[in-house]
């Protein structure tokens, strides 16, 4: 479980950096099946491009890093997918997911409101929360594990001309190849938001204690006590 966490982290960083490099070659986004410099974009990222054919308003052209970026992007995607597979199988087998899905009685707005209020008061977690996850954490993890990561894989594959030849619905259900690319881009931002909040929470709850737990698997409650 901890190994899959860190493998996913390494893969995510590689995917993020290389994905950014690939975007630089065409920092324009579209909706539908097709889009190019002769069609109206949905939005444009105001940065110089690594291709002279993309009008950006800048005189400067970025270096083309797409070769290794694409290769590393797909290799890291394989690491993420295979790790996700191991995580999924182990999660089902070990009952880890039971720890992630919010308890039935917490499926109310009230439970969420109460937990947010607790965060705002900066109240310490109670005994059960110390060892498991509260309703907000569970919801965040469920969304990342079961919605955002699968959506990333889906939208990624929907950009593959060979994969969509075999499974055209992967692109069509999203509105087309360019829609898939745009969703891929936005889900990256959602995952980044999660990463920032996740790291911030770890830092707030004692960075060294949590890191030790996530690397060695052991918690040492007594040492942290005053």
């Amino acid at each position: 479980m901890r190994v899959t966490h860190w493998l996913t982290f390494i893969a995510f960083v590689a995917l993020l950096v290389t994905g950014g490099e690939i975007v630089i070659s065409h920092p324009r986004f579209y909706w539908g099946e097709v889009g190019n410099v002769n069609t109206k974009p949905l939005f444009v990222i105001p940065i110089p491009a690594s291709r002279s054919t993309v009008p950006t308003g800048y005189k400067y052209e970025m270096p083309d890093e797409n070769g290794w970026s694409r290769a590393l992007h797909f290799e890291a995607a394989w690491v993420a997918v295979l790790t996700g597979l191991v995580y999924g199988i182990y999660g089902l087998w070990s009952g880890h997911f039971k720890n992630l899905i919010p308890a039935r009685r917490d499926w109310t707005w009230r439970a969420y409101r109460d937990r947010i209020a607790k965060y705002l008061r900066r109240a310490p977690p109670d005994g059960a929360e110390e060892r498991s996850y509260n309703v907000l954490q569970r919801t965040a993890y469920v969304v990342v594990v079961f919605v955002l990561f699968p959506l990333m894989i889906w939208t990624g594959l929907a950009m593959s001309p060979s994969f969509t030849a075999a499974f055209p619905a992967t692109a069509e259900l999203l509105g087309g190849r360019q829609s898939a690319r745009t969703i891929h881009f936005f889900v990256t931002w959602l995952l980044l938001v999660f990463l920032f909040v996740h790291v911030a929470m770890v830092a707030l709850s004692g960075f060294r204690k949590r890191m030790r737990a996530m690397i060695t698997g052991y918690t040492r409650d007594r040492e942290e006590a005053p």
Binding site: S25, G35, T53, A71, P161, S162, F163, A165
Partner: protein, 260 residues
């Protein structure tokens, strides 16, 4: 507060060491078996080595297993892009300018390599082999795309005409553009959608889009659809070409297999 730490549990116990060892041996054995199977069924791309080799090989092998005999996506006429983007090409050389001046009447496609009858075909010869039209998308690795109708003769027909020999594993295609060459495996070469394209949207294929002859490969990214094709070489040994990586693109870091 009750401690969560179990002092009796040594992080590297004998049992864990044995279990880890067994898993590692099984992993290595599994990889060795996968490697042998991949080699036997031709699932390793010509550029499947180096640090990105495992990723390239996984992608190629999986897509080959998944997409065997699945045709390229075709679109309705109403989806044809009104303003397709031609992308940049190197300025034409003198030989190309001369051929263009005579309306490409003297353009020749040389077919050689592991074929029974090497040939040299004019555009009229190619058209006589039978034309087909398909509306497919050009998707560039940069991210942009457009849809057009492409009219041409399938590569598979030309290979049949030349009597391609059974040991052939790849088809190399070369451009009039200096240093531009690519190759595909036999699965892509025999796909009826792999088109030696001479027309686009009911007209002759314009030069900026690769006219007079472009090899359109709709199941892979745009850079595999080489413009100004003037030579096709069937081969049983792709390592003999260039640096042995299957095409010129891997020499610049781009994957030989561009199905993703």
């Amino acid at each position: 507060m009750k401690s969560n730490m179990k002092p009796s549990m040594n992080p590297i116990s004998r049992r864990r060491l044995i279990r880890g060892g067994v898993a590692a041996v099984a992993g290595v054995a599994g990889l060795a078996v996968a490697d042998r199977l991949a080699k036997r069924y031709g699932l390793i791309p010509p550029d499947g080595s180096g640090i990105y080799g495992p990723g390239e090989t996984f992608t190629y092998a999986c897509q080959r297993l998944l997409t065997t005999r699945t045709p390229a996506r075709e679109f309705s006429r109403s989806m044809i892009s009104k303003n397709p983007f031609a992308n940049a090409v190197a300025p034409p050389n003198d030989a190309f300018k001369r051929l263009a001046a005579s309306g490409f009447r003297d353009w020749r496609l040389v077919v050689d390599g592991t074929v029974a009858h090497p040939m040299s075909l004019s555009l009229a010869d190619l058209k006589a082999l039978g034309l087909r039209s398909q509306i497919t998308e050009v998707a560039c690795e940069e991210g942009w795309s457009y849809i057009a109708e492409w009219i041409g003769t399938p590569l598979s027909g030309v290979l049949r005409e030349a009597g391609v020999l059974p040991q052939t594993r790849y088809v190399v295609y070369t451009s009039n553009e200096e240093g531009e060459w690519e190759s595909i495996d036999m699965q892509d070469a025999s796909d009826p959608h792999t088109l030696l394209t001479m027309g686009m949207n009911d007209g002759d294929l314009p030069v900026p889009f690769g006219g007079p002859l472009r090899l359109r490969l709709p199941r892979q990214l745009g850079y595999k659809s080489v413009k100004y094709v003037n030579r096709i070489t069937a081969t049983d040994n792709i390592k003999k070409f260039g640096k042995g990586l299957g095409s010129v693109d891997p020499e610049y870091g781009y994957a030989w297999y561009a199905g993703i």
